[in-house]
Amino acid sequence: MAINILMPALSPTMTEGKLAKWHVKEGDKVSSGQVICEIETDKATMEVEAVDEGIVGRILVAEGTEAVKVNAPIAILVEEGEAVPAGPAPQATPAQPPAAAPPPTPPASAQAPVAAPVPSAAPAAKPAPPKAAPAARDGQRIFASPLAKRIAAEAGLDLARIDGSGPHGRIVKADVEAARKGGTARAAPPAAPGERPAAAAAFPAGETRKIPHTSVRKVIARRMLESKQQVPHIYLTVDYEIDALLAARQAINAVGEKSKIKVSVNDMVIKACAQALRDHPDVNASWTETDMIQYGTVDVSVAVATDRGLITPIVRNADLKGIGRIASEMKDLAARAREGKLKLEEFQGGGFTISNMGMYGIKDFAAVINPPQAAILAVGAGEQRVVVRDGQMVIRTIMSCTLSADHRVVDGAVGAQFLQTLRGYIEQPAAMLL
């Protein structure tokens, strides 16, 4: 009995992904639990394991294919000696989706109101027939008017890729027609190289290239645009004197040398922020249309630059952890972030973000808030500056920080109080031990 292997939904918001790599080829025997392919999703690359035993009869989606819809058949598994069907197995028996490794876990309950509910069962048990326009989005029902469904089906548009403007986001006729006109719901047409005017030949230049967006790039673009368009940012800049913090770091690292613990300034900033967030739950919060969400745990996201783009792994319960533990966790998270091997729960959620560009010599900058969080702290380089203390010019190591805060949640004075508390921890690091 041939079995369809379906494109799995690796996250609650995933609607499509890139089939990055096949680990098996046609004719290979696979056993349950064996990694068969890698899928690049919104934010990470994930390995997909086989659920059933069998022989890879046919690979339906080639390596490197972009925008493979969730639940689309990607390969056919057959039994030994069985004839290989030309296309996906018939739908009469539900085909099994491969198990995603690891299965998505719901975010901490305190953060649930801002996260999409996670489907309780495995994603749709059978692939949607090609004509059925209302394919499940994250395994959930898509709300669309009957007329919108029918027009979408007729035009071959995927409702999961159309935003609804009706009551409670219901997709209505006008949305489908706008998508049809704008072509927004279709796969992007192949990039046609633009013709270069003859006059340009006088100034020979390198070839203009069109580079298709990666999933990560698209997500970054969408989220940053949303943030800047929809979140009213307020910016508060402060200078922290970090000589005491540097001294403390040296002392910690001297002690930790034997146990190979090495603490960075950033790790100490994470800890300081966590302490300050515990003192200011109104900053560890999110705006929703009806309520203010204050998180019950202090989970700090830390921006990590990778060659795939920006990602923000989370140090959970950072207020309860020691600096050494934060340092080792952060080291592990950053390394796996660079490899694209973070698990979903390791970068989804978080109540506050730190973005540190000190290592690039950036003196001070204003970061874009990472929604639905209400604030992000941009950390500049620690540098020696001449400052005035008690009427005297003295040299101190100064680190400028700018808090970008969602003004709907954090008023200027609230943000300033938070930064004041943070000053206490950064300038007197012993306070973090209390």
């Binding site: 009957p146 007329l147 919108a148 029918r150 403007s165 006729k173």
Partner: protein
């Protein structure tokens, strides 16, 4: 000292204005309304409601006269025009008091007098109110909604005098039922009065300049209505124009041109129902960016006039001149002012139109002709009430339900009805259109038996060749 500064002032308290004011109050705005006449406007005092009261009297009278067809006997059936009118006024009065109560309940301040825009001061709109004793009150508001409505259009040389030539206003309080009556215009207003007076025994002639009566309705409905009215003894002249009215002591002689010939008709009274013009005068629009075109204020899809913080709604802004359209526009304008998200402009094609003649007429969406002109391939369904058990039991089997679907998508483009209680039924198709259902959901929906609404189901089935009861 009464409060004079508000978040919102609504000028006019018809079904557009007072509903807008209540919605604003719900959204937490400090709201005032300005009314020069009666709370509730024309609709409630001189339009929709009192005419329905009159037509109910006509309906009961008609039933009593035909009592024997129900196996009943009623002797000496008669009427007292004065009492019929009294009842109508009482109904209007009761609802007028109801609006007063709603204003109080929602803490909306009511200013009696004529309101007009009076410039800007300190970023606020100024509104000047002048009451009957010429006493002036100066108000300010962040936003103003103009909702002053409309009035009967008058043809030059045929202006209503209130005695021999009436507009709807005089026709609503007739001292007696005229023996003969000429109605100029066969839109909803003209036809309703024609129907009312015909039921009470007037010799009624309706003159329509276009080639059919109820010209905004589907052609099938116009034709069906014509037959029904002629059967009742109404005289209908289409493609005809009243050229002149010559007034006598207690009669009017009209020169009516039709088919190149002019004929004279002498009647006791004339009702002029030739359309509507917006009440755009004395609103202080001069020197503002508010644009007036063909006697109506020009607005965008949210009711915004182009003049900062000035909105306009309802009949003042043009057709369809319907109370329910005005109410919806009022709500949308207020929600736009409040900055609510996900607002949708009013889709006029989802506004049902109702005419309360006998038989009633109701419709929503496109006529078959309009649908074809828009390039739709259509599927049309028809079902006569003679095939509906409830209609026969009621003794009102005259009528027709017609549906127009887009053949490709199954969209219900329009629905057109004539017959018993169709004004109460049309909302079913209105909801269907608003929810964007296709023929499939309408076919799957279970309509209760025995009801008139089954005819609506059958008309859908008929469009797809699946009708049961014909």
């Amino acid at each position: 000292m009464a409060e004079t500064s508000f978040d919102l002032i609504v000028i006019g308290t018809g079904p557009g204005g007072y509903v807008a004011a209540i919605r604003a109050a719900q959204l937490g705005m400090k709201t005032a309304v300005v009314e020069r006449d009666h709370l509730g406007g024309i609709c409630l005092n001189w339009g929709c409601i009192p005419t329905k009261a009159l037509l109910r009297s006509a309906e009961v009278f008609h039933l009593m006269k035909h009592a024997d067809s129900f196996g009943l006997s009623a002797k000496d059936v008669g009427f007292d025009a004065k009492k019929v009118v009294e009842r109508s006024r009482k109904v209007a009065g009761q609802l007028n008091a109801g609006v007063k109560h709603l204003m109080r309940k929602n803490k909306i301040t009511v200013f009696e007098g004529a309101g007009r825009l009076d410039g800007v001061a300190g970023g606020l709109r100024k509104v000047a109110v002048t009451d009957k004793d010429k006493k002036a009150t100066a108000l300010t508001a962040k936003n103003v909604i103009l909702a002053t409505g409309a009035r009967a259009r008058e043809l030059p040389g045929m202006e209503a005098d209130g005695k021999l030539v009436w507009t709807y206003k005089e026709a609503m309080v007739p001292p007696s039922i005229p023996k003969s009556l000429l109605v100029i215009g066969s839109g909803a207003i003209g036809i309703e009065f024609a129907s009312f007076f015909r039921t009470f025994g007037s010799e009624v002639t309706v003159v329509e300049v276009l080639d059919r009566i109820l010209p905004v309705e589907d052609e099938d409905i116009s034709a069906f209505a014509r037959k029904a009215f002629e059967k009742q003894g109404m005289k209908l002249m289409t493609s005809a124009t009243v050229k002149a009215l010559k007034k006598g002591t207690n009669s009017v002689t009209a020169a009516i041109e039709a088919g190149g010939k002019t004929q004279e008709l002498t009647v006791e009274r004339v009702i002029s129902a030739v359309g509507i013009v917006g009440n755009v005068e004395n609103l202080g629009l001069e020197g503002t960016k508010v644009k007036v075109e063909r006697s109506h204020v020009v607005i965008d899809q949210w009711g915004f006039t182009g003049e900062p913080n000035v909105y306009a709604i309802g009949d003042l802004c043009g057709p369809p001149w319907l109370a329910h359209k005005a109410s919806h526009e009022g709500v949308i304008a207020v929600e736009h002012i409040a900055g609510l998200k996900n607002l949708h402009p009013l889709d006029v094609s989802n506004v049902p139109g109702c005419t309360y003649c006998t038989p009633q007429v109701a419709s929503v969406g496109l006529t078959e002709k309009a649908a074809k002109e828009k390039g739709h391939q259509v599927k049309v369904g028809r079902f006569p009430f003679i095939g509906n058990g409830k209609a026969i039991a009621l003794g009102e089997p005259d009528g027709l339900v017609k549906t127009v679907f887009d053949a490709r998508t199954g969209e219900l483009l329009g629905a057109h009805m004539i017959g018993p209680e169709v004004t109460e039924l049309i909302q079913g198709y209105g909801i269907a259109r608003t929810l964007e259902t296709t023929e499939a959901e309408l076919m799957h929906a279970v309509f209760p038996h025995p009801t008139l609404s089954e005819a609506m189901h059958e008309a859908v089935l008929d469009a797809y060749g699946r009708v049961i009861h014909i």
